[in-house]
Subunit: 168 residues, 2 copies
Amino acid sequence: MELAEGKQKFIEAWGRIGSEWGINRTMAQVHALLLISPEALTTEEVMEELNISRGNANMTLRDLINWGLIEKQHKPGERKEYFAADKDIWNVARQVAKERKKRELEPMLKVLKELSTVEGDKNDRAYATFNKSVTDINKLANNADRMIDTMLKAEESWFWSSVLKIFK
Amino acid sequence: MELAEGKQKFIEAWGRIGSEWGINRTMAQVHALLLISPEALTTEEVMEELNISRGNANMTLRDLINWGLIEKQHKPGERKEYFAADKDIWNVARQVAKERKKRELEPMLKVLKELSTVEGDKNDRAYATFNKSVTDINKLANNADRMIDTMLKAEESWFWSSVLKIFK
DNA sequence: TTTTATTTTCAATAATACTTGAAAGTTTAG
DNA sequence: CTAAACTTTCAAGTATTATTGAAAATAAAA
């Protein structure tokens, strides 16, 4: 396969995966484009490569910055802004985990905590079932939360760093 | 908080979380409803509880069956079909992991394998960067794939079952 | 200060994804 | 076989989300 074709396929695939995981397709494609670009690109270049509008490119690049996946760069003597992706895939995975934890897991934990205060009669099957599910999910979510923290800190504990090595 | 209010909040929260993860909101809500129902429910009951149409209820219940999250039941002497969720949250997590692996991770691995056959000159920075990203993602994805397999099998190895216990 | 290059915003539009409901299909009972 | 109970399908409609593009804002240069 030719490089040009490979690039197209990579951008397309990354976009598809992103949208399957609730991430805007264009955002994933811009990220893909920057991941395979040896040089930082301008908004203009991103617009051209992916055939998207200026507004879309601008917003998408900002979102990627907020996700901590790319950064703005300035070239001396130039006025334009350049954008470059963090090429370390492990950092990308960590960053995504961190953000989703913050944006989704943590709000969910808050709701679950609230829901576990619902009182009721243990002999009421409706209450018992509700309570069991909420409690179990709460437990699992808390463990997931702690586990993500541990893996984000990583290298500290011998045990977890050995797990990480296998994964990474 | 009253049980009735708790139920509403739980269904709403589960729906929101689902949609953040690329799962249809209604599907997540039906799942939530069945998770907290002590008895199996009919299509009719699901329609009423969530104010959704017959067509929607039917399709959503089928999807949940395909995800392996709920099952059809029949009561003796009755013609209607009843639906009940697997209440073991750990099973739910496993099932979701298994399905997403099959639906998303595996197709991605196929594309990455193809993309790693792209040939080029190592001195060409465009090629080198493309190749590094693809190779790194490929490696990470393969490890994730293997790790999921291991965790799904679980109990077999002493090491992993100890990891699971912490998580579970 | 004025001009020019560049970035940002956001109302309007387009694309996508979800839902409805009625008709067609199936299955069981009489 | 026929009717009744129930399930499935899918074209049309609705809601949600993403994208455009031109105008406004900002910032550097003249």
